[in-house]
């Protein structure tokens, strides 16, 4: 269990998130391009910081695991059968704010894909937050994300 209860609603531009790797800080930032206030935040084990807008829609998340600490795995795959949606955190989760769930970062050998696993749940659903970011869920709990990265050594720009 991750304890992060979510639901998915109709996709909008505000909920579309795009990853980039910030070399200076070693943080993966997955941001919406729609600038707005982020009045709510959720911390997952000090490794994953989520920012939500006034409607509790995920507007950004930062992965505080630098590239040199990503595991490498052949099993990392881009999920199939995706539905598009905005990720909305449920009220109880927003109130709790801080979670102890484990966060793991696993990249494919080419550094083109990065899977972020939250807790130890097996994901059953994949929701496309954009062409380069998919949220994984198990029932109504958030189980992780899969990101498309640039694939070069900088690990930076999202693939168009």
């Amino acid at each position: 269990m991750s304890g992060l209860f979510v639901r998915f609603v109709t996709s909008t531009e505000a909920g579309r998130l795009y990853p980039r790797y910030d070399d200076e800080s070693g943080i993966v930032a997955v941001e919406s391009r729609v600038a707005r206030d982020w009045p709510y935040g959720i911390d997952v084990g000090g490794s994953l910081i989520c920012d939500l807008d006034t409607d509790h829609v995920l507007a950004n998340f930062d992965l505080h695991i630098p590239r040199q600490h990503w595991s490498r795995g052949e099993s990392v795959r881009w999920p199939n059968a995706q539905q598009a949606g905005n990720l909305v955190f449920q009220e109880a989760t927003v109130r709790t704010k801080s979670f102890d769930a484990t966060v793991e970062a696993i990249a494919d050998p080419a550094l083109r894909l990065l899977e972020i696993r939250i807790g130890d749940m097996e994901p059953h659903e994949a929701w496309a937050l954009s062409e380069t970011c998919v949220a994984l869920a198990s029932g109504d709990e958030l189980a992780g994300f899969v990101l498309k990265l640039g694939g070069d050594e900088s690990g930076g720009a999202p693939t168009p």
């Binding site: 930032a29 391009r33 982020w38 930062d62 704010k97 102890d100």
Partner: protein, 205 residues
């Protein structure tokens, strides 16, 4: 029968008025209305006016980066083809504007930017830190972040090889790249992670 003095006085007053008007138009402000008669000065003043109105702050970077430029606006004054110079700048200016918008989500406070307190304290800040300081301003303040950086408990995250200064009073954490005097990399709120190892304070820290 009119007074002949009136016929004389009125034209004189008119002449005086015309003289005053002429002085006002061609007076001590060189480059004012007289400017357009000089073809070499028409371009640059308009260019500078436009830039200062629409792109102030960013344009100096654009001009400095222009190959062959001496890095000053004056070099455009001397350009034999001011129209081309202006086009070049206009081509660059939207990019600067787009960068500002992309920094998006950089809700800078009017009249000053986030990071002023850290800057004043001489603490180095990363770009990501500055962005998050602005974007998370509605739930954590810069003074809380500075307090966490200065007085917060120091942790080392062995899993990620990073340092965090954490204030249990405000629950604000500042990630840094060194145990002491490090660059501020990010700021967030939450609880200390179980895996974070407290680093014992030593004199000078």
């Amino acid at each position: 029968m009119g007074d002949p003095k009136i016929d004389f006085v009125v034209p004189r007053a008119l002449r005086l008025a015309l003289l005053v008007l002429a002085l006002a138009l061609t007076g001590p402000v060189s480059g004012g209305l007289a400017g357009p008669s000089s073809s070499t000065e028409v371009g640059p003043p308009l260019l500078n006016d436009d830039l200062s109105r629409d792109y102030d702050g960013d344009i100096s970077v654009s001009l400095d980066a222009t190959p062959g430029s001496s890095g000053s606006i004056r070099s455009y004054d001397q350009s034999p083809e001011p129209s081309q110079s202006r086009t070049a700048v206009e081509r660059r200016a939207p990019a600067a504007k787009a960068e500002r918008e992309a920094a998006s989500a950089l809700p800078r406070i009017a009249g000053g930017s986030h990071g002023a307190m850290f800057d004043e304290a001489g603490i180095e800040m990363g770009e990501h830190f500055l962005r998050r300081l602005g974007q998370r301003a509605s739930r954590l303040s810069e003074s809380d972040a500075l307090d966490a950086y200065r007085n917060g408990r120091l942790f080392y995250d062995p899993k990620h090889g990073s340092y965090v200064r954490y204030s249990s009073r405000t629950r604000v954490a500042v990630a840094t790249d060194a145990p002491t005097g490090g660059k501020a990399l990010s700021v967030f709120e939450g609880n200390p992670a179980a895996r974070w190892n407290p680093v014992r304070w030593r004199p000078g820290q």
